[in-house]
């Protein structure tokens, strides 16, 4: 199964991601986004980070999750290579959605990594998160 593909949009950049679960979808969307920043082949899984987030909607959670990774790259130079993620209704009940993710990667090294696009933010513009039986699709446009 294809994990992600680039969405061509004038003036911005986007990613369409696929998954057999919401967790897989979130991980693939993040990997697709990272492939816009740098060539994933060149990134080594040297450091691991645990991320957990909670938001009121699946779309909001996806945007917040991608923005968290944009922050980690933009502020700390951290590039993700391998990601596993689980998405579930909030453990405390209520209507929130909860994400836990484990992200492996390394810090950007201009000698080894070829920087591609500088992403400012993941946006709500044309945002889609859809489930058809056990197949999930998402589309996110990034402000560049």
């Amino acid at each position: 199964m294809k994990r992600y593909e680039a969405v061509d949009i004038s003036g911005d950049a986007g990613v369409r991601a696929f998954g057999k679960s919401a967790g897989e979808l979130f991980a693939n969307a993040a990997l697709g986004m990272c492939s816009l920043i740098a060539d994933p082949e060149t990134v080594r899984p040297e450091e691991r980070l645990e991320i957990s987030l909670r938001r009121g909607s699946l779309g909001g959670l996806l945007v917040a999750w991608l923005n968290e990774l944009i922050f980690l790259f933009d502020a700390r130079g951290f590039l993700a290579r391998d990601i596993t993620a689980a998405v579930s209704p909030s453990p405390g009940g209520g209507e929130d959605f909860f994400l836990t993710a484990s992200v492996s990667g390394e810090h950007f090294d201009p000698e080894r990594h070829r920087g591609k696009l500088l992403l400012k933010a993941a946006t709500y513009h044309r945002l889609k998160v859809e489930q058809k039986e056990d197949f999930w699709t998402a589309e996110v446009i990034f402000d560049i």
């Binding site: 061509d8 949009i9 740098a38 922050f71 933009d74 502020a75 591609k116 500088l118 513009h125």
Partner: protein, 369 residues
């Protein structure tokens, strides 16, 4: 000058960090970080990065009142810390240009422009700092829109009533980001002067490197405008638009009171950029605003496909333009064909009367991220 353009581009590329993953050369303590957000370009000048005369020729004196550093998230501080004094990537640039056409001799003279003069244009903003402020407040504003019963056409256009606490907080944070951007451009301008001094073995005054104008290209400001015959205080948000105030506007600094506000319109790296002046008609018809730039014609992928197998840098060199870029794909994405023809865009705003042409600038050397 011409034989030195290659050296200048190399030095500028080295002295002004640019591109994906680049880090700034400034290391500020928490106290200075906050001062910079309140003082804007003046902070840079107070710290030896520029001259007091620069401030006079910067929109709002390079500092908008009402910035509140306490409303900035730790994440925005962290993102901004690494990037203060960096150019960025994408359509951000630093260009060495020359005046190749004057449309209004008297206006050009009052701006200090003359034919064949070498100029520098810097296009950058609040970098990751501003993007994080936006990301942080988009969530706040989305909740606020629901709270105040505003139906959103697009979640990206989340908003709140101007006088609500959410909007007040956002504006105080946005003002800090605007001040960050003014400080950023002031720092980069200073290092540009240093690069010229180094390569040309002269002082900035000897080189005549004085600022013409620094104008924000994305900002919301409280301004007075006439609406249906009544003077009103409005929140004017210019995104993809540039302020173009007319002669006599009280916001303009003394040197430009008679001429109107200088408007800088960047084109693309292969063709041209323009200097215009604001007009009364812009006040009447567009809340004192004109265009922002050329606007894209091709998407990134279309541009990359079109550039495949070509050496964009070489094509530019054949036209006498030396280009240096950190990203390989940036040049393809930013090539002339990816943009509308800026001359045609500027002709439209000139003929519409919402700003008027003063001079056309042609690129000689380009630094891209």
């Amino acid at each position: 000058m011409l034989p030195r353009v290659r050296d200048l581009v190399e030095v500028l590329y080295r002295e002004v960090p640019s591109g994906v993953g680049s880090k700034g050369r400034m290391r500020l303590g928490p106290d200075d970080e906050r001062k910079l957000l309140v003082k804007g370009a003046a902070w840079a000048v107070e710290n030896g990065l520029g001259e007091p005369a620069d401030i006079e020729r910067t929109e709002s004196g390079g500092r908008i009142e009402g910035a509140d550093p306490s409303l900035i998230s730790e994440k925005a501080y962290e993102r901004g810390r690494a990037q203060q004094g960096t150019l960025g990537s994408g359509n951000h640039f630093l260009e060495i240009q020359y005046v190749d056409e004057i449309y209004d001799e008297a206006a050009a003279q009052s701006l200090g422009l003359f034919a064949d003069q070498v100029t520098v244009m810097i296009h950058t903003g609040s970098r990751g700092f501003g993007h994080q402020v936006c990301t942080d407040f988009l969530e706040v504003m989305e909740r606020a829109a629901a709270k105040y019963g505003i139906a959103l056409y697009d979640r990206e256009l989340a908003c709140a009533p101007v006088k609500s606490p959410e909007a007040k907080d956002y504006l105080a944070a946005m003002r800090a980001a605007a001040n960050y951007a003014w400080a950023n451009r002031q720092c980069i301008m200073h290092w540009t002067r240093e690069a010229f001094m180094k390569v040309m073995s002269s002082s900035p005054r000897g080189l005549g490197m004085s600022l013409i104008y620094d104008v924000a290209h994305n900002i919301a400001k409280v301004e007075e405008h006439i609406v249906a015959g009544q003077k009103r205080r409005l929140m004017v948000h210019r995104k993809g638009a540039t302020r173009a105030f007319p002669p006599g506007h009280p916001e303009l600094p003394q040197p430009y009171r008679q001429t109107g506000q200088p408007v800088l319109i960047p084109g693309d790296m292969g063709r041209a950029s323009f200097v215009l002046l604001g007009t009364e008609k812009a006040m009447e018809e567009t809340f004192g605003s004109t265009c922002h730039g050329a606007g894209r014609l091709l998407s990134r992928h279309q541009a990359i496909r079109k550039a495949k197998g070509r050496k964009i840098w070489k094509e530019l060199e054949e036209k006498g333009i030396i280009v240096r870029s950190a990203g390989r794909e940036t040049l393809a994405e930013e090539m002339s064909e990816a943009y509308k023809d800026i001359s045609a865009v500027v002709d439209v705003v000139h003929r519409a009367g919402i700003s008027r042409k003063v001079a056309r600038l042609r690129p000689l050397g380009v630094v891209k991220g």
